[in-house]
Structures are given as structure tokens and as C-alpha cells.
Symmetry: D2
Subunit: 356 residues, 4 copies
Amino acid sequence: MPGSCFGEFLVVSTFGESHGPAVGVVVDGVPPGLALSEADVQRDLDRRRPGQSAVTTARRESDRAEILSGVFEGLTTGTPVAILVRNEEHRSSDYERFRDAFRPGHADWSYHAKYGIRDWRGGGRSSGRETAARVAAGAIARKILAGHGIAVTGYALEIAGIRAGSFDLAEVERNPVRCVDAAAAGLMERAIAEAKDAGDSVGGVVEVVAEGVPAGLGDPVFDKLEALLAHALMSVGAVRGFEVGAGFAAARMRGSAFNDELAAEGGGARPVTNHAGGVAGGISNGAPLVVRCAIRPPASISRPQRTVNERGEPVEISIGGRHDPCIVPRAVPVLEAMVALVLADRLLAQRSLGRP
Amino acid sequence: MPGSCFGEFLVVSTFGESHGPAVGVVVDGVPPGLALSEADVQRDLDRRRPGQSAVTTARRESDRAEILSGVFEGLTTGTPVAILVRNEEHRSSDYERFRDAFRPGHADWSYHAKYGIRDWRGGGRSSGRETAARVAAGAIARKILAGHGIAVTGYALEIAGIRAGSFDLAEVERNPVRCVDAAAAGLMERAIAEAKDAGDSVGGVVEVVAEGVPAGLGDPVFDKLEALLAHALMSVGAVRGFEVGAGFAAARMRGSAFNDELAAEGGGARPVTNHAGGVAGGISNGAPLVVRCAIRPPASISRPQRTVNERGEPVEISIGGRHDPCIVPRAVPVLEAMVALVLADRLLAQRSLGRP
Amino acid sequence: MPGSCFGEFLVVSTFGESHGPAVGVVVDGVPPGLALSEADVQRDLDRRRPGQSAVTTARRESDRAEILSGVFEGLTTGTPVAILVRNEEHRSSDYERFRDAFRPGHADWSYHAKYGIRDWRGGGRSSGRETAARVAAGAIARKILAGHGIAVTGYALEIAGIRAGSFDLAEVERNPVRCVDAAAAGLMERAIAEAKDAGDSVGGVVEVVAEGVPAGLGDPVFDKLEALLAHALMSVGAVRGFEVGAGFAAARMRGSAFNDELAAEGGGARPVTNHAGGVAGGISNGAPLVVRCAIRPPASISRPQRTVNERGEPVEISIGGRHDPCIVPRAVPVLEAMVALVLADRLLAQRSLGRP
Amino acid sequence: MPGSCFGEFLVVSTFGESHGPAVGVVVDGVPPGLALSEADVQRDLDRRRPGQSAVTTARRESDRAEILSGVFEGLTTGTPVAILVRNEEHRSSDYERFRDAFRPGHADWSYHAKYGIRDWRGGGRSSGRETAARVAAGAIARKILAGHGIAVTGYALEIAGIRAGSFDLAEVERNPVRCVDAAAAGLMERAIAEAKDAGDSVGGVVEVVAEGVPAGLGDPVFDKLEALLAHALMSVGAVRGFEVGAGFAAARMRGSAFNDELAAEGGGARPVTNHAGGVAGGISNGAPLVVRCAIRPPASISRPQRTVNERGEPVEISIGGRHDPCIVPRAVPVLEAMVALVLADRLLAQRSLGRP
């Protein structure tokens, strides 16, 4: 598999470059009989869309989803659902200057080393635009999960070093940075604006929580639930770190503090605390699933940077144009999509065991 | 795939429970003509072996590797290499007490929820003993990599909150905690002993570096090199967090500080700094690959803990017996093995492109 | 994987229903730097197109291929190539009568049993229309193979019981049944017309030969070259039998007659005869690859047939409309595409071994 | 995947060479709670064992199965079941003569071309001995199927051109050629003996039937049930052709004769005839599954044959030793195992859809 497929039961295959005709996705394994419309997909695409607020890029793409297959009379049929999103605003000329220069922090050089050829317009396949396809697929996963009482929610915990101090999920979609703390959100907005004015960019931390995950999802050994989630989330270009539950903090805890004791519930058990973040031995334990991602500052900055061109000559470049000074707010629906895809995949996997 | 397979080109399939007859591994895709002997495998197995020092469990298993296939007259033939490690010291009776109690921090409850049946002797399949099979496979990956000038090295950066202050790779195999700082190593040993005396356990942070990785390994989108590494490393039971390069620190850096500028080298480019940890856009960029893992404190502690049994009754248990108070030193060769497996897999993948 | 993906190195993922908006394919793993245009794809699509001659269905679809990704400035970039073929002539109303009746010989009943829901318009996903996507993908495979001197050619050996008596490849594209024997072709055409007039349909046998296949392709045990080819060809709906080399005739030969003796050639060996059809032990031996498929008579016939509807009531149906009385001529490019996809996949696989 | 793995839900990974220490198999995905003992596996291994009758090779191997993992207190636990079969009778010296000569009809030359190295003792990995591992895995699949009322039965339909005239399943295990016709069996035995005396070998045709297969197994497009079966059966070295239902005879039938009309049954439908062999559109239709394989005459014959050695020199060889003059009787349990593995895999797959 050369890298553009993900999943085993709910198999996602994306295609498309940032400045080609379209990006899109084929989702195979969607259970039959699920109500699915373009509006379901559009909702999440709109949350990822460029130009949605002052803290994102000023580029505007309407990102309209067209369902090409797999849905008949409003219901999925069990066959592949293909979704197409045409690219609209091509300003390839913006990139003409970088035609042969490797932009620092981007994949230009590594793609060149790998393939010996690359679509230099806006990063081509390595562009974040590919994540529109993931979000479209994630919308399907979300609907599958909703049918089993599972909800996936993401939000910013930290941006530019500013940490949320309070926690209110109702705030998330009310502020443009998607933070759980309205006051911190204001500071974050300001910090982003400041970085932008300085021709620079900032990063942050996103947390994604899945409520309603039944115990028993995930597989032993190599396909532990947190391993699949780490794979999924680290495959989003801007993510540089991943943790589940207590994460890196666990390295400084003692076993007696870290271990989640168990209480009786419904004939089985329930973790009393949740340092493990909802998984034990790679398999969900019935507690909410909690993961966190470190998001790097975007690579496209207008400050001058030293680099090299395809002829091996040193050059200096400054990346003007309309870029996100902080990708955190738009990353939230992408990370939610990836978590939803993993959970839906494992939910279908678990069914094959014939267990309740 | 139900979870016990890993890799696409170098495919690893492990089997075995901690108290069954054996653990083992089948490695398919090993290139033909590689010199391979049981001694090659034994070297790494010995670094993972229980009872190797005062900071590990007192259990003793000789962990002898037997190669069952795929090697003829000292060379691999291109067919699957199966390696068997018989389990020796079965003290299942140690576990009889936990027959129906779910040990906190272990996978007892989640396996029960998943399968409705479990081998309760020492965790069965969820036991860390399974990693012996990974280390055996990793030894093969290492030999493949060595033939391409790639070396993988792991070490403790932090244990029980004590951080290495100096960095000397030569120290690693000289101290029982595998730390790069001899002075810190002494403090770490003491902290482990202290926790053990208190019936408790401690965690830490391991860093793994791969030198000599050529630019071009890894795949776009879902199979980014760091995504595969995160999958591989988070699949090791004790790992709770993963980061590449600057990792979580990147969330607080500005783009101008995080981006690695490029310098000319050998007709191509070379990152001047290495905040990205050797990957750009999911593809290696020629810089050393640097990843870090958070290791939790071991779950087996002698302090009393509250839990539930299979009948849903609350019980209190205290896990005596011979357990590792800190798994970091023995985790080092396991994490090295996983990194080596991913890199060898992608090296073979890259060959299929027909690129130099 | 739920069935719409094929291949490991050159991964094909098709989507689309016969009466939905489009059929299409995503091909991942296409080597970078390959010249590829829509015209390359169109050539093969035109050979599969309905309405191309008097012996095929009278339906007319122009089947225009649109490349949506993976090609930049006329060359592939190593990223997924998505190709879209819009469906044009929707006459869903033709099928309204079969809305709830299971057509004999079609997949209506088995899909209903599997999914509990189905797109009843023209078979939906089970329609032969899906093979347009395969042919588009096959055109890419063909170009990869051409770069290695491998050519794949298919033709009718038998239709309606009439067997080709002579063998001239130059005849194949000159007659509408794609037969290697011009005289037999005339008889075949007449037999097809006769069956059509009788409201019936006929089958035949197609042979596909690949010239220039180097020794060494294919893998031991489960992925023998003939096993992959059988998988690929038996996945075409109309194919009911598969054989390689002597095939079923081998069952009546003695070992001394069947074994291909070897002669020296170029420092290696060359089979003197080719009863094995180009493979030994599942791995190509340097002789031309020869496979054969039994093609069933099309299921859609205007003669009345007894069946059952979704309410379990017996009904009689007669399938009017414009259907192929014999699918053999249009199956030829589809079977070629499948053989080309398998060979290109294994060619890339073999490269990963690092062998010449 | 380099070829030694098969299946997606029930994943089989075999290893071992004919003259190495052992052959074996790891089966992942076995549902938990299945009663499984070594005796279950031994039963089928004994039917495949060399030396079981006068028509097979005189070699004797006891082929004792040892279960190494995945079974606890007599029940499977959901974790991988590894089964080891030690090789006993090594007469590598028998093969010393062929050390550098490529035996005609064997994989010696093609393996040499692929890998540049090979285990020349008895074919190494390409030896039929590998099928012992498949039979062991198949025994597990059979038990899974039995729990769903599915039974898989194979038998000889034809040997050395002699065709069974009557059909009595009770005869199969009563005669050494496993034929459904006792009278034909006698003629077959004589024909085999005659070929053997002439230093030659003979082939035949095996049919495998699965009763009790529910409608709905298999997947659209590339993973049609017959495609997976063809893959599985053509991966057995001696198989040169595959057909389902009417198979090659379908090529000469008219649609009106070939189509299976449907009758009402249990609220659904039931094919009245079974020309399709139990599948429609790649998905089982509730009729018995019927497939047939052409088995070639064994390659090892004592008659002199011309070939080439590793130095490219022409040589003549005569393969003495104890070889099967006809592999059909021993192939029966192997082909049954492959059919059982595919069906069990698809049964688990279907469960993931959440359909009854």
C-alpha cells in the first residue's frame, strides 16, 4: 500500500493535489442502510474550510462535497462511497517563485528526494488540502458511531503557549480558535494576530475525546487502539506528538498513582480514574477515550528563510500569500475525523468476533 | 488483520502467551542472501531478558532463540524466518490468586470485555513477554539496515523524573538503566530501588535515534514515516506518548524557530537544524531520525489496590511476586526493534519505486 | 478490505454504480515520472465501450476519462491517480419493473441477502459497468509494463462452441468478436446474432498472453503468480473458470509429457515447451505467460424466466432492453487490464527485493 | 506481503522448508471460546500424511502437531494459534545430486531467478510439504464452520483420465484415491501403479463442495467469493485450473440454460438449479458451493529429463527416490483446507456488517 489508504473495515482512500482539479475520497466498507446526504458531509467540511474566520487563511474555497456513489435513495448500500470536492481557487502563480526552491519546513525537499519529481504548486499532494478528503470520510464515520452512541469532540487546549484554564465544551464552536475556555480564546486570538503581523506562525495542543466507547475495541499487540490512533493522528502533517490519557505525564507518576482502580458496574468493571485515557492493554476499557496532539506552527511564513533550490544552490525565500498563521482551529475537525475513522473501523472489527 | 501482524514488506507475525509453551515470530520478506544466525538474534534478546540486573525483575529466563526456517547454510533464502523462544520458568501458581480478579492497570478487564475468555496466567497474550518476539524480529531488521549504513540506538533520557544532564552514548550499556548520563544513572537506580521498597513502580522517557537514514523513506498521507513509527512504538504496552523531533515543544515554538532551514549538500539539501526529527511531510529528509516515548510505571505493584472480580464483586489485591519496578531499561531494546522494523520495511518499500 | 481494492504495490480502488453519477478508480503506487494522458486511458476504454459493434449492446456511452490527480505537466508524480468516468445514458426506468424481482443469473438475490438493501437500477455495483474503472487502471499498468518490454494481449479462442482453428494476432482487432481466426470470427458473429434473435445469449473462452515477462515475478506459497491472476480474472463477473498453461488438460497428461524441460539461455535457463504457461512454483520462469478464462453467457435475456420477488412471491420476468448477447468481445480488454494490473504489481514487488 | 500470509479475518501465516527443522503456521483471528485440541488438527494431517497408502510416496513422517499458543484450558482465547510440525525424515543426501541442477517441472529455476539463492533440498519452501501447515490451519477453519452448520468435502472426480461414473460420498475415505466411485477407484489405482512402474506420474480432477453456506458471503468486485477461492486453490502448487459450478462448460451453454431460476424459500429465494455453483455476483446464494481443480501430474519422475545446471550447462537428470506418482489423494485434504479457510474468513467478514 503506497500510503493513501487507511483502515481495514472502513477503508479510506484519498486522492488529489492542492492545485489539481479536485481532492476526493473513496470510503469502502460503509455499513448498508445508513442515511447519508451531502449535507452530512458539508457540515464538517465547513468547519475545516479556509477563510472561516480572521485567524485562518484568507483563501476562500466553498469546498462543496459531491457524493458520486454508494448512496441510493438516501441510504448507503454497502458499496464504496466516493466523494469529490473540486478545487476552486487556483492561484498556482503564487507558487511559481518556489518552482525550484525547497521551502523550509515543507515537504518539498523530501518529496524531491523520494520521487525525483513533484507538483510544486502549493505542496501538491503534501498540502493540508488533502485533509478535506479525510474530513469528508470522517463525517461518514461519525454517523456510524452516532448509531452506537459514540460522540467524538475536539478542541484547542493550548495555542502559542497560552493554556486553557477552564473547561466548557459549549464554548468550543463559539470562538474562532475552538478553545474550551472563552477567556483564553481571546488571548489566543491576539497571540495569533501578533505572530501573523510579525510574519510568523504559532502552534498549540488539541485534545480529542470520544464518549460512549464500549469496552472491547482495539486489538492485542500491534493494533492496540492507541497505536491505531497514534498512526491516524500522526499522519496529519502538522502533528508532532501524540499522547493518550496521562501521556508524557505518566513518565513521572508512580504506579500506585497511575493505575486506574476498578469499580463494579453493570456486571462488569469501570475505571474509577482515567489516567489510561480509556484503553488498557490496547483495548478500550469503557472510560472515555482521551488523546492529545502537539500541533506545530505552520511552515509558510513571510519572514525570509535560507534554503536550497533544485540545482543545489543556496537561496533565500519569503513565503508571502494567504497562509494560516495558526492551523489549530482548522485542525480540530481533521483530528476528530481521524479519531472517528479509527473508532468506526474497530467497531466494525469487533462485530466480526460475534461478541455483543 | 486481527492485530498480531506488522509491516508490509518485512512482515512480522508474533504469537505466544507468557505462560504457554513458547513465544515466537514469523518474519516474511527478509531479503535473500543475508547472513543470519541465532547469535545475531540472541544478542538483542539478552538485552531484553529478565533478571539481567538488580533494577529488573528477578525472574530468570534464558530466552534461547531457535531459528526454524528461512535460513540455509547461514544465509537467508527470501522465505519466512520463524524464530521460537520456549518459555521456561512457568510459575502459573503465582497468578492463581488473580484467576478471576481484574488487576488494575493491566488488560485483564478489557480482554475479558473483548473476548469473554482470557488466559489469566501473567497476562497471557497482553504480557510484556510478547516483546521477546519483537526483539528477535528487530534483530533481523537491524541486519538489513546495517547493510545500508543505518544504525538504531535507544537510551533512557529520564527515569522517575530524573533527567539526563549530559549525553554520552558510550555510557548506555555501561549502566543498568541504559542512560546516556552516568551520574543521572546512579540517581535513577536509587529512585527505582526506593520505589520498589515502597511496593511501587516508576516510569521514564526513552529516546531512539536512527543515524544514516537516507532522504526519501516513508509515504505521503497515511503512511508518513512518523505515523508508522508512532503506530509501532505506541503498540508497545508501556508507551503512553510519542513525539518526533521537537515534539510537544513544537507546540510552543514559532514557525521561524521551528522550521529547519536547508543547506546545500551533495547536489541536494540537508537540514541545518533538526526540529523536525528527520522527517518532512512524512518522508525522511536525510537528518537523523529522532523519536521519544513516554514509558508508564509498571502496573504490577505490591501495594494494595481496589478492583473487581469476574463476578462483579469488589475485591482488594496486592500483586506480589517478581516484577520490574521500572521497565525503562528493558524497554530500550524493544523500542529499538520497533524503530528498526519500520525503517527496514520502508527501505524495502522505497526500493520498489526503482529510485536510487 | 471490503472488496473494492486490489493490489499491493499498484493499488486499485474502484467505485460507482451503473446508474449513479459516475464510475471511477483511484490508482495508488504509480511510479513517478511516467508519461500519462487521458488519451492513454481512452484507447482501452473505447475497446470496452458499449455500442462499439453490432454484436454488443446498442446502448451508447462515450465513456470519457477525466484524470483528477497524480499527473503534473504530463508526468505521474508518484501520488494517487484518480480517473472519473461520468455515466451518461441513464434509463433507470428500464429497470423499474425489476425493482423488487430478483433477476435469475444476476446478483440481485445474493446482494439482497448480504446487504438487505440494493440499488436495483441495472445491477448497481454488480453491473459490468464497474469494469470501465478496471480498464482505466489497466491502461496505467500497461504503460508501466511497456517500459519493461512486457505486452499483454487477449483474444477470443471460442464463442458459442465455435473454436478458432487458426491463430493470427493481427486479426484480433479487425473483427468485432476479437477472434484470432477470421473465418471462425464470421461463424461466431452469426451464432451471436442467432442467439440474440432467439432472446438468448452465448459464452466463450478468452486467452490472454503476456510476452516479455522476466523470470522471477510472483511469490511463494499464497501469492503465486497464477493465484494472483486467478483472483484477478475470477473477479470479473462473467468468468466461471480459469486455467494457466495446459490447465485442465494437464489433469490427463503424464509427468513426462507435462514437465517443461529446460535449455540453457543467457547464463540461465529457458523452458523448451510451455505446458506450465510461464510459471513454476508460482514464479514466472521466463516463458510467455498464458492464461485462459471461461466466459458465461450473459444473464440478461428476453426469454421468460421464473423467479421470486422481495416479498418471496414467485413471478415470471423477461428482461427486455439493450443487452449484450455475448460479452466476450468486450471482456477482452477487461481481462487484459486485470492481467496487466497483476503483472505491474508483481514487477514493483520484485524491485523491492533489490534483485536485477 | 511477501506471500506467506493468507486471509483477512482468519489470517494464516505459514513457514518452513521441506528439509529444515519444521513447518508451521500461525493462525490469527480465531474466534474466542472454540474448543480446540491437537487431535482436531491431527485428524486432517493424517489424511495428508505421506506413506498413508500404496498410491502415495513411501516416505514416512508422523507429522505430529504441537499447539504452541492461543489455546487455554482447551478453548481458544482469540489470540494467535501457532502450530508446529517438526520435520522428521531428512534425507537431504537424496537431493545432493540436484544441488545445482534445475529439476524440470519444479520451481528450482524460477526460485533461482527470483532470489539468486535457494534451499535445494527437496524444493525447500516450494515443496508440497508446506501444505501440512495449511491443513493444520484448515482444521481450525473447519471447526469454526462446523459451528455454523457448514461442511466442506473434497474427492477425486478423475485420475489419469479415468472419470468417476457414480457418486457416493461414503466411498471417498474407503478407497486410497479418495474417489466417489468405488469401481473407478480401482481403475485409478491400477493406472497410478502403471505410471509409477513406467517411471512416470499422473494427474486428475478434484471437486470440493461446501454444504450449508448461507447466502451473503463474499464481497463485490475484487473479493468475489469465487475469486478468493480461485486465489486459495490456485496457490496450491499442483493446481493448474479452477472452475466454479458449470465452469468451462458454461462457455458452451446458452443463457437460458445456464441461468439458475429462483424459487421461494423461507421468505427469500433459492436457486432451482446450480450452474453457478453457489455464487451470484461473487456472493453466495444459498446453494451448495461447488468448485473443481485440475491437478497436474507430479514433477518428480524417474525418467531421464534434459535440463540445465546453475552454471548454465545442459545436463540430464532422473529423479529417483520416493515420490508420489499421483498427488490427487493427498491433495484432497489440502484443497478442503483452502476452501474452509476462505469460507471461515468470509463468515467472520460478514459478521462485521452486523447482518443476521
